[in-house]
């Protein structure tokens, strides 16, 4: 009873002007780095393990010392969905929320949008690179583009 795959066409990132975020002292270094187009992730300065989103303590060694290394900016699609309506306006809009395993930061993931391919061509395991999207109030969001 399976039906033919849907032909979605090009996957777009959601419009930046409709996206807002907030920060706190634990998460702000991530977003400040993003403003400078530098991809980082929260790393424990003591044991070296990564965690995202940034949080006050390392869940492995309980240290509260953090490091913010510069990552290569590439990653691998761990999973995804294909959506077809802009969640704010309700208009037809193909976008692909992806969960990305970040290169250079084992265990750290980002949830973002993927562009640079058709919605129907996205696959788990696909290699991607960061694509910066300006959003409201001067912040910048890490999205991804198919390599």
């Amino acid at each position: 009873m399976m039906t033919a795959p849907i032909k979605y066409g090009p996957a777009r990132v959601l419009p930046g002007e409709q996206i807002s975020i907030t920060t706190n002292p634990d998460t702000e270094p991530f977003w400040e780095a993003a403003k400078a187009r530098r991809l980082t992730a929260c790393q424990c300065a003591k044991c070296g393990n990564f965690r995202m989103p940034p949080s006050p303590y390392c869940p492995d060694c309980s240290s509260n010392e953090k490091a913010w290394p510069t990552l290569p900016g590439t990653g691998t699609v761990f999973s995804f969905a294909v959506c077809n309506k802009n969640p704010v306006t309700g208009e037809d809009y193909v976008y692909v929320p992806v969960v990305v395993d970040l290169d250079g930061a084992p265990g750290a993931r980002l949830v973002a949008n993927l562009t640079g391919c058709n919605g129907e061509d996205v696959a788990v395991g696909m290699k991607v690179t960061v694509e910066w999207t300006p959003i409201s109030e001067g912040w910048v969001l890490a999205n991804f583009r198919k390599i």
């Binding site: 009873m1 979605y8 975020i21 989103p53 869940p59 761990f78 999973s79 959506c83 949830v111 959003i135």
Partner: protein
């Protein structure tokens, strides 16, 4: 080791309002509906509301996700003389069956004598659960999720379903079978919202909301209230109906699941799971039973793939074997025999959240009670043990086994 509180408490009363399509319960108020459910549960138990002295909530005592119950306000409304136990599980719907464990804690501790667990839901346009995450104001934590446009729980769970498809070859047919198999159980249920039998063609024509999930993979958006009364076994024997004995009950979960789809950091194999393995293992250890010993399973079905993943986590089939299990007909109920099909255990004989109504899991508790009483509309023959589950969601999720008295 057997649970210290095994068979020491029982659910003795169930009550529910009509189930309304989202928003249609207005101009009733949420406390009006909660009151009706509580008073009906008391009548069903054969007790007075003035006997109830405990509240065991879940979902942070939420009424839906935006309203809150308040014990003092309910006492004032219902004229309850005193309350000596008022407690809740945290997070959301994952705690629905675990609330019976909270009730048991209050009863065994002799804090209270009759505990009520209640949920009411009224999804007026500004209170739709389906868009509740997307509508929430950004905070530092959800700023790592919301910008992706995963606006509702169904969108979030579609990402888990996709990983399951990738790892185990699961197909959308299996999700469709879950919806169709449980739809077949509502044709004879007067209160069910969706009663018409569902064909594969109709399922496949359902709009894709968050590929791989279609609208029909998402549960109903309904209004209504459900309450149940739990008491000690000695009191339960004096109640109107045969007690539905609390045989095992657990809530919680493991760190690898944690905030789950609000986090997306779960390692394999937890990512493509229901997060229920921890509480499943606990109720099996508490009872010495396993999935094959269950006569019926009332599995929280906010989204069809999460039924499949719970079947795996509870051990009805191997991890990764959910699609084959479902597609072999094993979750179906056969009205002719009153039993399962092809050696399986019937799932959601009430139609579940997908077809009957969604009151954040409480309808599953009601069906579990009716099955072990022997009064269910789709009665499983000789039903001794009923499993009910709450979640998959951010922890705690929960598991409950009820036993025939």
């Amino acid at each position: 080791m057997a649970w210290a509180n095994q068979d020491k408490t029982a659910i003795v009363g169930v009550g529910a309002t009509d189930y309304y399509v989202r928003g249609k319960s207005w101009p009733r108020t949420i406390n009006d509906m909660a009151g009706e459910a509580i008073l009906k549960a008391c009548a069903d138990a054969g007790i007075s509301i003035k006997d109830v002295d405990g509240f065991a909530y879940y979902s942070g005592a939420g009424a839906g996700y935006l309203d809150k119950f308040d014990t003092a306000s309910l006492m004032e409304t219902l004229g309850m003389p005193h309350v000596s136990f008022s407690a809740t599980l945290t997070s959301g719907g994952g705690g629905c069956v675990g609330a019976i464990g909270i009730a048991t804690a209050g009863l065994i501790n002799e804090d209270c004598t009759y505990a009520v667990t209640v949920m009411a839901l009224q999804q007026l346009p500004q209170h739709r659960l389906g868009v509740v995450f997307g509508a929430a104001k950004p905070n530092p934590e959800n700023s790592f999720l919301q910008p992706s446009g995963l606006v509702g729980p169904g969108h979030l769970m579609s990402v888990l379903a996709r990983r399951h498809m990738h790892l185990y070859g699961t197909t959308q047919d299996a999700f469709g079978e879950i919806v169709m198999a449980t739809r077949a159980n509502t044709a004879n249920r007067p209160k069910a919202v969706r009663k018409a039998p569902l064909t594969p063609e109709e399922y496949n024509a359902s709009p894709m909301l968050a590929d791989p999930l279609r609208r029909l993979d998402f549960c109903l958006e309904t209004d209504g209230a459900v309450a149940v009364i739990t008491t000690t076994m000695d009191r339960a024997r004096d109640c109107r109906h045969k007690p539905a004995v609390v045989h095992a009950c657990a809530h919680g979960g493991s760190r690898e699941w944690g905030r789950a789809f609000a986090w997306m950091g779960m390692p394999d194999p937890w990512f493509a799971s229901s997060g229920h393995k921890f509480t499943a293992d606990r109720v099996w250890a508490q009872s010495g039973l396993s999935a094959k010993d269950m006569d019926v399973a009332l599995i929280y079905d906010h989204f069809s793939p999460m039924v499949l993943m719970q079947l795996e986590d509870y051990g009805f089939c191997e991890k990764g074997g959910g699609a084959d299990y479902v597609l072999s007909g094993k979750i179906r109920y056969d009205p002719a025999t009153g039993r399962g099909v092809n050696g399986g255990v019937p799932v959601n004989t009430h139609g579940g959240n997908l077809n009957e109504a969604y009151i954040i899991g409480m309808t599953h508790v009601v069906e579990a009670v009716e099955q072990v009483r022997g009064t269910a509309i789709n009665q499983v023959k000789d039903c001794e043990f009923a499993l009910a589950s709450g979640g998959p969601a951010s922890l705690p999720v929960s598991s409950l086994i009820l036993r025939k008295a």
